[in-house]
Subunit: 325 residues, 2 copies
């Protein structure tokens, strides 16, 4: 993985992925005690950064391979990204999703033309289902993060951060990234290493799913022990990727861990101050910037809002509980 | 008023006002039955397009005049725009607001450093209060729409629409604009007349406050009869401006009138499909695009979401009532 691969992905995404805005609010600066810049990836097509990596990977396939279709495992955001990318190329997509994924994500993935196969997390073997379908139909698996073209696609978000921050005169900052398997985190880190070497990437994770934070401390891949489904469904992966972890180990850290309440408070702030809809997992980096400033250095912090695909009830709850701060 | 004045405002706003994104969603296209492009002015500084006009007007004042301070009347969005612009120039701002304006708007205006003077709509004379303060302190009145530099500032939104639509290959479209006094509507219309002559501007208004729609039909300025405060507080002006109406009469129409329920349904769609927070008055153009397609021509419709400064309770109500569509 290198910057050339990210640049190549950026060329393939040109005119397809949105250049999302880098937003700010004096009210957030005040809470954080420093300048806060927010990369609004919830405004990306399909409502999360995942479209970048999905389109990058699907567009990088040889034509003949792409034409037989693609398959993905996802709780929802990668699902929608792959579904849209496949639709744009006119090829079929099968998405294997847990039956308890957020309803909006399942509905959207179907509406984008994908064939959704639901499975029961407790009783069914996701990989077996996927392997069977892939073998039968000759589908190509688009991995959610441990795939070079996916990491390269997510890295295009980092190219934009470097350019947009430079326009504001910012070349030094900590860049907090919502982190599940590490695709966005490692992609942004690689892009910034080349284009904004004064910036350092900090992964943000929800309490109970802090595998990356612990892995960065121990220097080896650590797993989450719990198998519970967290509020931050978008980023509750069992462990960092085999491909993403070495990149994060070299370039990122330390991680910052936030509570579910802090993620919801950040959702309420994004609503009030940025006019953005953030999903819980997409709000953990903003939560880290706002409520864990003691772990952050420097005058400016940049954070991603990585997605906005949140069921209405979850959003209403966050706003009702934390909207008056 | 001409395009040169808008271009001059754009130069003064460069690096200050945000270039807001032009967003879309296949789900909105499906509801509308045509392509829908959404100009997200809720992402502008202070949460509405009003910052453009306010900054344009304040920056156009001679230095000596600006230094003695500015004053504005506003229910909230113009208030915040003027407050921020004045703060950026280091000059004082007095904002006269109705005591029943949305709490968020009053709080934000104060937080941006302005001196807020509240008055009772029923018993106090706003203009008398303003005249007294202006005379005492030598303040310059920044009108919300009947002011050339304000219209020119709002017109910069039209320059962006023309450029962003052209990038997508769109040169012909109806452009629906949330309309109160007509500053944004007339500014965009002037910009598009020069830069995208294949586009036609359509004002959108809430039921009961359709003064512009009726004025465009009769050919003369008509007033709203009711004095009630509507849900769409941002755009419930008594009549079109003396300066904006002739521009709208020449370039815009017919108007489209939407119900409060439709505005709230559009808020729920902006939440689910665009990940944007729209205030009721800022959602009427999207409501027109989605629910009044029979009054619209062509394959593509462009609409503004002009602001996102909505109290939490109002947003929660809209989402709870219309969020499952």
């Amino acid at each position: 993985m290198d910057i050339e691969r990210i640049e190549a992905a950026a060329s393939r995404l040109q005119g397809h992925a949105r250049v999302t805005p880098l937003l700010s609010s004096p009210f957030l600066d005040e809470i954080a005690g420093r300048r806060v810049l927010v990369k609004a990836e919830c405004l990306q097509h399909t409502g999360s950064f995942k479209y970048r990596g999905a389109r990058s990977a699907v567009s990088a396939l040889p034509d003949a391979q792409r034409e037989t279709g693609v398959i993905a495992f996802s709780s929802g955001n990668h699902a929608q990204g792959v579904a849209l990318a496949a639709k744009q190329f006119g090829v079929s997509a099968v998405i294997i999703m847990p039956a308890d994924a957020p309803k909006m994500k399942i509905d959207n993935t179907r509406a984008l033309g994908a064939e959704v196969v639901l499975y029961d997390r407790a009783t069914e073997d996701r990989d077996a289902i996927g392997t069977k379908l892939s073998d039968e139909r000759g589908l190509t698996l688009i991995r959610p993060f441990d795939e070079p073209e996916v990491i390269a696609g997510q890295g295009t978000c980092g190219l934009e951060i470097a350019a947009q921050a430079a326009e504001l005169g910012v070349t030094e900052a900590e860049v907090i990234v919502c982190c599940g398997g590490g695709g966005l985190t490692s992609g942004i880190a690689l892009a910034l290493e080349a284009r904004a070497p004064g910036m350092r990437v900090r992964p943000a994770e929800p309490e109970g799913f802090d595998d990356v934070t612990r892995s960065l401390v121990s220097g080896q891949i650590e797993r989450n022990t719990g198998s519970a489904n967290g509020l931050c469904d978008a980023i509750v992966t069992p462990q960092p990727g085999n491909m993403t972890f070495p990149i994060m180990h070299r370039l990122c850290g330390p991680g910052i861990v936030v509570t579910d309440d802090e993620a919801q408070r950040a959702m309420a702030q994004a609503f009030a101050r940025l006019k953005l809809v953030a999903e819980p997992g997409g709000a953990v980096a903003l939560a880290a910037a706002l409520y864990h400033g003691d772990q952050i250095d420097g005058d400016t912090v940049i954070c991603t809002i990585s997605g906005g695909n949140v069921d209405r009830a979850v959003f209403l709850h966050a706003l009702a509980q934390f909207g008056e701060e």
